[in-house]
Symmetry: C2
Subunit: 436 residues, 2 copies
């Protein structure tokens, strides 16, 4: 069979962009053999050509690179929400389909860009925006499309997972683990987007919109990062049989969605507990499939580039444009989300309190919890520490978040309390979500 | 937007067929909302209408049910390789695309059916043929299409995994675990296709063909089942830190493929060790993605029906036919496989020998292994059993299968051996396969 050559323009040639060029070079024959397509990189638009390999067709003229009639598909890998947005707009207005990995842009301006694409009979593909090499967008758009999704639980930020894994396996402090992650290239110099949970929340917004047929924005999501996490809680969680992970969680309660990103205790037998280092994993609970899980490298040059190239292929084959035209699961076609307020959330909790060792303290704490309908599931008390503070660690059965917050205010006023209690949430997947 | 009604015919209404009818009924509104499509089941062809719900449009006339001009897509869920084959042929000749879950038929006659589909401008979708609710075919055809696949390692038979889980967690014998699986509906009255590994091999043939661009047939695969497995080896494996799983393994050595289905020792820290009961999981090692893993229910009414309905939707949207026309990864387009002979396989081994407790036995055994270049990795000897037989259990470093078979013949002749040695293979994924 004859091969067809497809001209493309890459906008940006950082880590992912150079990965795309590498895959198209190294696997060009394999891709042609499988798909009949050969991709011709006509332009690579960069800010400073002196910083990139000379054998690429570098240019600083983004607009001309997009407008070239022989560039059929535009691959946006610049990141950011300004130049990237206008470049995508220019492409779509020319009727050219776009492949992007830009989750911040989709989270901020998804609906208008998708509407613009539709207006100009073009498509936007964005597999690379979430969970790197894991084809999770494709699973939601196609593989699990016959399912009402009941819950989505993901480890979607490799930086945080790397840091938490170091803290768990090597008993490092948060500060040391962050330094290690920066040294290993897993965390940026300014790690705030990652460690404060915003990157995970932007991914959750994209995945939830597809999963729940409802437009989820970053601002809909309750976000707590890992930057305030104490190594002691990782240690005590381990003694109770749990591992702490930064989870992005979306689940349905009736017609409302609970959306949250926070450090979460996961049981050591849970598959998610085995997801280590920079790996990502997403659990989906479908009305027909029950529990499914997708695991792989959530970031990095070649895994993310793999997602970009799979989008390129599906776009060039016409498969993505055809699906885009018919599917009504993209942000511009979705109604706003009905949110479950965080106070209404029902979940299990982990509490750690540092107290003065006096008779009757535990009775006082359990009495407060009891008046808020919160009952204990397990309990751990260690011997006296040097400073005279005794850590009391407990887990609860399911309770309302609002009730727990009220209880915590009262507990915080008890005289033996030496500092604010630490309160984390526990997840019991699959038991908690599986309907099958 | 307007809805489009798509007429379909179901051939067969057993477990999966009734699941498809149920999903199209229960999730009809959701599917219409997501895709703009509404499926109208025009005929359900069955052998004995008295055995099925009266509210379905039952018929015994397969040929007319297929020929109905208002039936656009034919869903074959009868199973078997005779009536099902002629029904699919009739459908394709009428230019109607087919959705099937029939792995035996694809394994036996895939290439000719795919060629027939291509000739008549129709498509065959078969997500439901492997791993139930896990969209693994889609991952290979689309999500990971930019990767050279280096290895595929799967737990793809839920019956065997259920039996092995019972044997592992509850120390049951194979016979008791099989009875339990039959009572729970996880094993058929004649379980031979499952427990002898043929079902897993047929799935491996389909998945490997897609993954390695090479036509793999069941007869290319070295197959050992779980029906000869002794509970003692599960126990000793556990003491050494391993779990025994029936794995379907395909991996590349240069331009040759090693293809095998056999009970395998998996380290307790491996994600595959956590795949319990009737769940399935498939690891894929891609040149760009590195290790990815897809996990979910590998069988059952609704999970398998979920895969059928996702194929129905993609076929009705025109996405599957468009991909089918262009992708060259289907059996009719693939060259035959270059096989790595099993003797050439390099792997680690587990050995158990029952010996008479005499001085110098271990020296004799290690001498034989040494002369075949096989070195020990770990060793376990328990105290004397009642019958005077002492179990010696050991694991080896990597060695050639051929060398091990020669060594076993010699060991079997040593006077202290009281029965044939048990020899199982060990897998070290991801370390063994990951190239990234």
């Amino acid at each position: 069979m004859a091969e067809r050559t497809v001209g493309i323009t890459l906008l940006g040639c950082g880590v992912v962009g150079s990965g795309v060029a590498q895959i198209l070079h190294d696997q060009g024959d394999l891709i042609a053999c499988r798909t009949g397509l050969r991709f011709d990189i006509r332009h690579v638009a960069v800010r400073d050509p002196s910083k990139h390999p000379k054998d690429l067709p570098l240019t600083t003229d983004i607009s001309s690179a997009i407008a070239d009639p022989k560039s059929e598909i535009i691959v946006e890998l610049m990141g950011g929400t300004t130049t990237a947005a206008s470049a995508i707009e220019q492409s779509l207005k020319l009727g050219k389909s776009v492949v992007t990995a830009n989750k911040s842009l989709l989270a901020a301006r998804g609906p208008e860009l998708f509407a613009l694409a539709r207006k100009h009979d073009a498509s936007i593909a964005f597999e690379a925006s979430c969970a790197g090499g894991i084809p999770i967008i494709n699973a939601l758009m196609q593989g699990l499309v016959a399912n009402r999704i009941d819950a989505l639980v993901g480890i979607v930020n490799g930086t945080c997972n790397f840091i938490l894994t170091q803290m768990t396996k090597h008993a490092q402090s948060y500060t040391d683990a962050l330094k290690g992650a920066q040294a290993a290239g897993y965390a940026e110099a300014d790690p705030s987007m990652d460690v404060q949970g915003r990157d995970a929340a932007q991914k959750l917004a994209i995945l939830s919109s597809l999963a729940f047929n409802s437009l989820v924005r970053e601002s809909d999501i309750h976000i707590e990062g890992i930057d305030t996490l104490d190594a002691a809680d990782i240690k005590y969680s381990g003694e109770l049989g749990y591992v702490i992970k930064l989870l992005a969680i979306a689940h349905r309660r009736g017609d409302q969605l609970s959306l949250r990103v926070h450090p979460t205790l996961v049981h050591q037998d849970d598959v998610l507990a085995e997801v280590s280092g920079s790996f990502n994993a997403v659990s989906l609970f479908g009305s027909a499939t029950g529990h499914t899980l997708f695991y792989g490298r959530g970031a990095g040059k070649l895994p993310t580039a793999s997602a970009v190239v799979s989008d390129l292929i599906a776009t060039a084959m016409g498969v993505t444009p055809l699906a885009f035209k018919q599917l009504r699961i993209f942000p511009d076609a979705l109604p706003p989300t009905r949110l479950l307020p965080i106070e209404e959330l029902t979940t299990r909790f982990y509490l750690r309190m540092m107290i003065k060792d006096e008779p009757g303290v535990l009775a006082q704490i359990t009495r407060v919890l009891g008046t808020h309908q919160i009952s204990l599931a397990s309990f751990l008390q260690h011997e006296l520490l040097d400073g005279g503070a005794v850590p009391i660690v407990l887990t609860t059965h399911s309770a309302k978040e609002g009730a727990m917050q009220s209880a915590l205010q009262e507990i915080n006023k008890l005289p033996p309390l030496m500092s604010r209690p630490v309160c984390l949430r526990i997840i019991d997947q699959p038991k908690e979500f599986e309907a099958v």
